[in-house]
Symmetry: C2
Subunit: 136 residues, 2 copies
C-alpha cells in the first residue's frame, strides 16, 4: 500500500491526507467497496472528507490502473484494489459477498471465430453466482 503511494507520487500525484486515507481504506484482499462505503470508512479517519473527493480519488486510481471498477449487480459500482492480478468474481446471491477467483484456462478461448461478428475481442469478464456457506 505504501508502495502504491510511492508509485503515485512518482507520477506527480500531490499527496494529500484525503488521498492517503482513501488508499488506506482500499487496502486488503477481497475488498470490493462501493464509493459510499469507502466514504463512510474514510470519514472515520478523516471526518471532513467529502463525497466528491472520494469519487474523484477513486476515478483517478481507476485511470491509473491501480483499482478496478466492478459492477456485479445493477446497483453501485464497487472498487477493487486487486488490480495487478487478473481475476474474476464469485458473488453470493443471498448476501452479496464477493470473492476473487481464478478460473482455469483462458475464458477468451471459448468464443469461436464465428461468434465474434468481426469484433476485436480483447477482454472478458466472468461473474459466477451462487450461495455462500452462510446463506446455503
Amino acid at each position: 500500500m505504501s508502495d502504491l503511494l510511492e508509485r503515485l507520487r512518482g507520477r506527480g500525484w500531490r499527496l494529500t491526507s484525503q488521498r492517503r486515507v482513501v488508499a488506506e481504506v482500499l487496502d486488503g484482499d477481497h475488498v470490493h467497496l462501493t464509493a459510499d462505503e469507502v466514504h463512510a470508512r474514510a470519514t472515520q479517519r478523516l471526518p471532513e472528507i467529502s463525497r466528491a473527493t472520494v469519487y474523484n480519488t477513486l476515478g483517478e486510481l481507476v485511470s491509473l490502473g491501480e483499482v478496478i471498477e466492478v459492477s456485479t449487480d445493477g446497483r453501485a459500482k464497487r472498487y477493487d484494489p486487486n488490480a495487478h492480478q487478473p481475476h474474476q468474481h464469485l458473488v453470493c446471491s443471498g448476501c452479496g459477498t464477493i470473492r476473487d477467483v481464478r478460473p482455469l484456462g483462458d475464458p477468451l478461448a471459448d468464443l469461436p471465430a464465428d461468434q465474434r461478428f468481426g469484433f476485436t475481442v480483447s477482454e472478458v469478464e466472468v461473474t459466477y453466482r451462487g450461495l455462500c456457506p452462510s446463506c446455503a
Copy 2:
C-alpha cells in the same frame, strides 16, 4: 411475439394496449434496450404511455421469465427478449453495441473446487469486450 402475448394471456395477464406496445418494441434479435429507450419507441406508437408503465411491464416480463435484465456497463439496465436461449454478450467498447453470443463448453466447469470457497455455484455470466468492425 404474438405467441408471447398468447402465453401471457393464458397466465391471466390483462391485455392492454400499453403491454402490447412494449412487447412489440422488444421484438427482434440482438435487442438490448434500456427502459427509457423502450419508452421512447413505445411513445411513437402510443403517445401517452407512461414511464412507470414501461418499468412495470418490463419488471413483469422479467418475473415471468420472458425477458432478461442485462447490466453490462454501470449505467441503465438493458432488457433482452432472448430469454429462452441461454447466451452471453459481446460488447463494443467504442459504441456500446451488444451482440448475443454462444461460447463453447460450460463456463461453470472452469471454476475449480478450491476456488469455490464452499459456495454452491449455480450460474455464470460472461461479458466479452472489444471493438466492433465500425469502431476498430
